[in-house]
Symmetry: C2
Subunit: 248 residues, 2 copies
């Protein structure tokens, strides 16, 4: 086995171990069902305390990559319902995780004023401008979703004039150029019927069931910076969730 952890000087110890193991699992080098070394063994192998190892393993269990069984060991998870938990992945990442090739067609890219509800959520004054970006999102060149993003203009000067948003990931641009990286989001998921216009764009029959996901995304310690409304084709997209009991 590989005893070294990549990205050696980056971040806390537990994240390095976690990301290292995550890579081993998602790449298939650690196959589903495989039993990992015990926590004490990992602790010794990597030179981390057991608690640090446990923190890494806990994150991976939370993410559904590992299953831990008391008295028995820690195993690479076999999925029950095939998982496709999106977490905070962008559309592009999400599609790649599903084994599809993402694509985009920019339909609208301009400065607008926000409606009051959205202005309030994004904590901008009603008279401040926002960048509106509407893109048809493709998977293997087939329309998968219609996505409309609103960003406070003050947070991303120049974004409205970029001409590469049909090719690059918006989230990568936001992170690299504006130091805005998604850390937390609240979403509302609903089912709606496709309007004539949306149906034409998504190439489905009018009235087709769509998954509408509205998301307010926040950056670490910088508050909300993005409001997105996405309409996913109901027959092409499903949302996977892992739900855990909290109370009791």
């Amino acid at each position: 086995m590989e005893d070294e952890v990549r990205q050696p000087t980056d971040g806390p110890l537990y994240t390095r171990l976690r990301d290292h193991l995550a890579a081993e699992i998602t790449s298939g080098r650690l196959a589903a069902g495989t039993r990992l070394a015990s926590e004490r063994a990992l602790s010794e192998r990597y030179g981390y305390s057991r608690l640090t190892v446990r923190r890494a393993l806990a994150d991976l269990e939370e993410a559904g990559l590992l299953v831990r069984r008391r008295g028995s060991g820690t195993f690479v998870a076999e999925r029950l319902i095939r998982k496709n938990v999106r977490g905070l992945a962008s559309f592009s990442e999400d599609m790649r995780q599903r084994g599809l090739t993402p694509g985009s067609i920019v339909l609208r890219q301009e400065l607008v004023f926000l409606e009051e509800e959205q202005a309030q959520m994004l904590k901008v004054a009603a008279h401040e401008g926002a960048v509106c970006l509407r893109r048809l999102r493709l998977a293997n060149d087939v329309p998968m979703a219609l996505e409309t993003v609103f960003l406070p203009a003050a947070l991303c000067p120049g974004l409205v004039r970029r001409t590469d948003l049909d090719r690059v990931s918006l989230y990568e641009v936001l992170e690299r150029e504006y130091n805005l990286s998604a850390d937390y989001a609240e979403e509302v998921v609903e089912a709606v019927n496709a309007s004539e216009e949306v149906a034409r764009l998504l190439r489905v029959a009018p009235g087709s069931a769509l998954l509408r996901i509205r998301r307010l995304t926040s950056a670490k310690d910088r508050g909300p910076f993005e409001y997105v409304e996405s309409l996913y084709c109901g027959d092409k997209y499903s949302l996977g969730l892992n739900v855990r009991r909290l109370g009791q």
Copy 2:
């Protein structure tokens, strides 16, 4: 403030503290925006180590009830989009949390054999029986969802003959009589168009968009025990989610 933790002899220390604080917050005794005592102070007040306190706070942050800011403190979260995260709540609990009165009409209650996919998920042999319970779920006497539950018959003997499932919560019965309490679930959420039959039951137009939620529920250390397919009226129901970044 209250220094005592209820349910004193139950479970690990961190769950007691966590549930105690969760009750304080959801009841409103700890208002949104309130700053909690520091981890060290809580540690001293309750007589728990700081790590144990941290574990409880981490769970509550994960659940979206708390926000922790380094150098600043731990605060009761203010919701941005008003939340209606279902977690593992039953339909009845879910509706009550939304301020609606739940109701039920039993449409089907019988022993069946499972299809292979479902049998596999519930880990029962194909020839073993399962209880099938289909109920129209009402909110303020208006049809809200159509819910079909499958439970391995071996786990809940006698359930198929109960006559009160239009009045009592199935989850309460399962917990009280069969020691089956939901601890974890995997869900798949999709948008679908209502069939003629479903539309008639839900009193919506055929083709209306519905939220289909399929759930495999597991009990603590007892594995999966319930498979549910729910069809929610798209115009009456929305699903709230809090999403947090895992990596980095």
